[in-house]
Symmetry: C2
Subunit: 378 residues, 2 copies
Amino acid sequence: MSFSDTVNSPQQNFAPLKNDRLLRALRFEPVDTTPVWMMRQAGRYLPEYKATRAEAGDFMSLCRDTARATEVTLQPLRRFDLDASILFSDILTIPDAMGLGLYFEAGEGPKFKYPIRNQADLDRIPTLDVNDSLDYVMRAVTSIRTEINGAVPLFGFSGSPWTLATYMIEGGGSKDYRYTKGMLYGNPQFLHQLLDKLAIAVIDYLDAQVIAGAQALQIFDSWGGALGHRQFIEFSHAYNKRIVAELKVRHPTIPVILFTKGGGLWLDIQADSEADALGLDWTMPIDRARQVLRASERQLSEHYQQPQRRKAVQGNLDPATLYGSPETIRKEVKAMLDSAYACGEKTGYVANLGHGITQWADPERAKVFIDAVHEYQL
Amino acid sequence: MSFSDTVNSPQQNFAPLKNDRLLRALRFEPVDTTPVWMMRQAGRYLPEYKATRAEAGDFMSLCRDTARATEVTLQPLRRFDLDASILFSDILTIPDAMGLGLYFEAGEGPKFKYPIRNQADLDRIPTLDVNDSLDYVMRAVTSIRTEINGAVPLFGFSGSPWTLATYMIEGGGSKDYRYTKGMLYGNPQFLHQLLDKLAIAVIDYLDAQVIAGAQALQIFDSWGGALGHRQFIEFSHAYNKRIVAELKVRHPTIPVILFTKGGGLWLDIQADSEADALGLDWTMPIDRARQVLRASERQLSEHYQQPQRRKAVQGNLDPATLYGSPETIRKEVKAMLDSAYACGEKTGYVANLGHGITQWADPERAKVFIDAVHEYQL
């Protein structure tokens, strides 16, 4: 029995949302204070996470275990005054469901037993029924949404097609993307076939997460920044744009955040999408990002002869800032928020780290970060 | 006996330069065609390099062996129509001379036996007499310059203080710069002490390379892009700016190229230095880089109330392009040069890759790249 057989439009049965600060900021509505959450907020820096993970066994067993995936998602909400939660899962669930044999080697990150290197590999990739092969994700979403009980909104998420493709072709993480870029320059049509399959899967995956209860979505293009400028447009952004457009048809009110790590140079490109917000890493000053986006929106409105959706921004404290003293963290948070609101508009911004919180961060310092964001007077 | 005792101002005895295309482009003088060279052009993609390296033993033995370091520097010049040569050496010679115990583990990159983690480690760092502890580098420079016999100019180079510091603190390469950023946010004065020592060493090192025969200099800030915007200014650029300024006092006619990988967002910051050119990786379109630089130069000229040095640009083909077909390489080179000259000014540009050529590149494809640059009609 698949997920869709058991749950019919669960959205209607969940508790009403109490804290809508994040959703308001994404819609450029007034907020009382800045909404904040942390990428990878359920993670190894928390002792309670490590305890639950040890009970579950390996990482993917934790993802597949509805009760424990719910538990680790809720853990940071008990410690910190967060304005959003995010599904505990991995970006590689889609390739795993496609049969690539995901496994984790100690200290080495994720690996695939069967990387995609030739047409036969590509042809073996099945069209996913996400409610069947990824039903454990949807069960986790519904369980988490139920347990949160309306306290804060729940993000669903997916890796971008380009980012998923790099793992699938390299067979794991990579420093130079030798095989993926070998295809990009040597056999671009092959890469496009793979990206097309992934785009379809990502649309269905995020759509199903929303039906299961996700109230906002984030697409992680973790390795988009490895591409050249024109290649980013062709091999990454074009697919993200298509995914967001389709999600907006299916779920017009669900906000979508697009986060390209290392994509600060290309905000003008990313502006050409229906995303509600763009994520920034710490290399891009937020005031400059907001200027670039406003200028790009004006140009795009002229180009398309219709007003474009204004994009909020999310980010962008260097996660390493949390290695500093409380005073340093507060100083850096103030600088970040001064930059975010330099334009005079006291909304359209979500505070976050510029990448996932690291396993070495002290939870007490994470609390300093979150509280400093909320204490900042708008 | 140190190098400076044996060679007194060798610059005067070298053969006159026959191909000054690169130097002319850096000075914004007319050129007959675009000058081109490749970062890491003496390297593992060349079978003749691998043969010479096998004779020398390990990597540092090759760097210390004047005859063989000269031989591998000249090898790419025999194969390709290059417009510059670059000293064969490693960016980690300075930390090695400082006693950190450089070694190379198979497949793991460079490591240091004695990383810098506390004040005692820092206090143990000696003030270098570069003509003593790095005399092998100066001997190689003079030998190479003599052997090239004026065919093309010879680059000397160094890592930037920030980039060297990351290796010295982490004890090798890093993905997240945990310890270095821990100091940056937790004990910035400690990091500044180290960077200050490194800046002094880099100045002396590059000065000595010029005296030994280098005709141009490049500073590699390979990991500058890992910093936040304000942190890049304080912990990387400030030191690079100081180094270039001092070199310009000592050697006003020697051009200096500053290459910050991942620094495309910060060209306006890098413009505030006396560098003759900025290196670009493939994420930054060259036409946009030139626009940013012209605007920054105008602003800086107003700020300092005196005209600023115009900056040429160098780069920026993705090294992975060489995995593509000859047609793809030619198409990408054309797009790069169209972008480089979009402003209408047919000089002030040096073609290069956006990072070092990889060990998996086919030398025949490198030849296609170099010839395509020269065949492009200005």
